[in-house]
């Protein structure tokens, strides 16, 4: 079963956030599952159209997702999906 680790910065808005076990398939499906566990969380990660927000990075294992628009990158059993915020200034 894949799992998702999210940046601690998101705990400001979702205090109960912890590692989440998911079914997987694609990154888009994983984000959808996250939103069921933490309603509203998906809108912090993706925009109105489901594309990854500009300053959010998602990795599947050690690989950054390549399809930032539709998040079609596959997520295999046993893999970890990481949700980070990109670094930015000021």
């Amino acid at each position: 079963m894949p799992r998702v680790e999210l940046t601690a910065h998101l705990r400001r808005f979702f205090p109960d956030l912890d590692v989440v076990d998911v079914t997987g398939g694609t990154v888009a499906q994983v984000i959808g599952e996250l939103d069921l566990v933490h309603p509203g969380l998906a809108a912090y990660i993706v925009d109105d159209r489901g594309a990854l927000r500009q300053h959010v990075n998602v990795f599947v294992g050690k690989k950054m997702v390549s399809d930032r628009g539709a998040l079609s990158d596959p997520v295999q059993d046993g893999e970890t999906v990481y949700v980070f915020q990109a670094l930015s200034g000021g």
């Binding site: 808005f13 912090y44 990660i45 925009d47 109105d48 159209r49 990109a86």
Partner: protein, 373 residues
């Protein structure tokens, strides 16, 4: 926090690093609340109909969020931010997504649950459940002028001014008739509906724009802010990218009332007297290439004759080494009291219609909005 007094005894700041509530007590202002610390607050206001505080958040990473508070900012509830419907596109075909929550307005007195939000990339959203949900005002989004430039017509269409995409910064509800609204967009211009958002008329006659061909197309102007006189809303004032304008017929015709020889020309905010439609205040800036205080000196200019003449008011304001800019939503009026907050984090107020100014504070983050409550 003290209970609510008269409007004007509280000032709500939306800043680059959070929402501040300032309160006036025994003639002194003090900060009574910092909420959303560290988060850019693009606009904040108190809905006077129900004392509900609203914060439009511009998270650098997590997108645009909307929060409301019924206890003056002690506790907050996040509500879903407006979403552009699937299939809606910008000029050029890019999918439309929410970029920025630029302004909020309460509906009329007879519409207690109505709220409006003006956004980038140009969508007007309305709520009829007090902000629990918002929907795109399709009639306005589908106005033929918006995408006109895509079709090779003699229109500029709507385009970004200061921001990447067109944005709605002014939503004016006629206090006499809730079905009548004026919308200000940078860049497109001013639009009016008189039938509750079903149809829209372009209200740009009389405006000029040095960044458009001459003669200019029907849309493409850059009103920075549109403000009515509450006692006579047929009189509208506008601080534009290209001057200060006044209309006495609900926007059908705009008259350039900029000051010959300056400094009243470029700026962002404008305040209008609550009773006298001939009295207004602006904060001239060195524009548009520089966008800072003129010659390092802050000043407010007031007219009491409909823009025929202007008086420079600077008592109490720094007259050297001041480089502040005051953004469009960061200048407000309540009775004889005025206040503004600057991009340099300075907040000033006047108790006597701008005759003299005093500082409320000097070390706030960059101020995006300053609204009396």
């Amino acid at each position: 926090m003290a209970s609510s007094g008269a409007r004007g005894d509280r000032l709500v700041l939306g800043t680059r690093k959070g929402l501040f509530v300032l309160e006036r007590s025994r003639g002194k202002w003090k900060q009574v609340r910092l909420a959303h610390a560290g988060v850019p607050v693009s606009y904040a206001m108190l809905d006077p109909r129900n004392e509900r505080l609203w914060a439009c958040l511009d998270h650098g990473h997590w997108g645009q969020k909307l929060q409301r508070s019924d206890d003056m900012g002690e506790t907050w509830e996040e509500v879903p931010a407006p979403v552009y419907p699937e299939g809606e596109v910008l000029k050029g075909g890019e999918p439309a997504t929410l970029k920025y929550l630029w302004t909020m307005s309460a509906g009329g007195a007879d519409e207690p649950d109505r709220l409006y939000i003006g956004t980038e990339p140009g969508g007007l959203f309305k709520s009829d459940d007090n902000g629990s949900s918002f929907e795109l005002v399709e009639s306005f989004w589908n106005h033929p002028s918006r995408l006109a430039g895509d079709e090779g017509e003699e229109f500029a269409g709507w385009f970004g001014g200061g921001r990447d995409n067109p944005g709605i910064h002014s939503v004016v509800v006629d206090p006499r008739d809730s079905k009548r609204l004026w919308i200000g967009i940078s860049c497109a211009g001013v639009f009016e509906t008189t039938d509750g958002c079903e149809t829209w008329a372009i209200r740009n006659k009389g405006m000029t724009a040095p960044f458009l061909p001459d003669p200019p197309p029907e849309v493409g102007f850059d009103p920075h802010l549109v403000v009515p006189c509450p006692a006579n809303p047929d009189v509208l004032w506008q601080q534009n990218h290209a001057g200060v304008y006044r209309s006495s017929d609900g926007g059908k015709l705009w008259e350039d009332v900029s000051q010959e020889g300056g400094p009243v020309y470029f700026g962002f905010g404008v305040c209008v007297d609550e009773k006298d439609p001939d009295t207004a205040w602006v904060l001239p800036a060195d524009g548009d290439e520089r966008r800072m205080a003129i010659d390092g000196a802050l000043c407010v200019c007031r007219t009491e004759d409909g823009g025929k003449s202007w008086t420079r008011l600077c008592e109490g304001l720094p007259q050297e080494s001041a480089h502040d800019l005051v953004l469009r939503h960061a200048f407000d009026l309540a009775g004889d009291r005025l206040a503004f907050g600057s991009t340099s984090g300075n907040v000033y107020a006047s108790e006597n219609r701008g005759e003299a100014w005093f500082p409320i504070g000097h070390h706030f983050p960059q101020v995006y909005s300053a609204r009396f409550a």
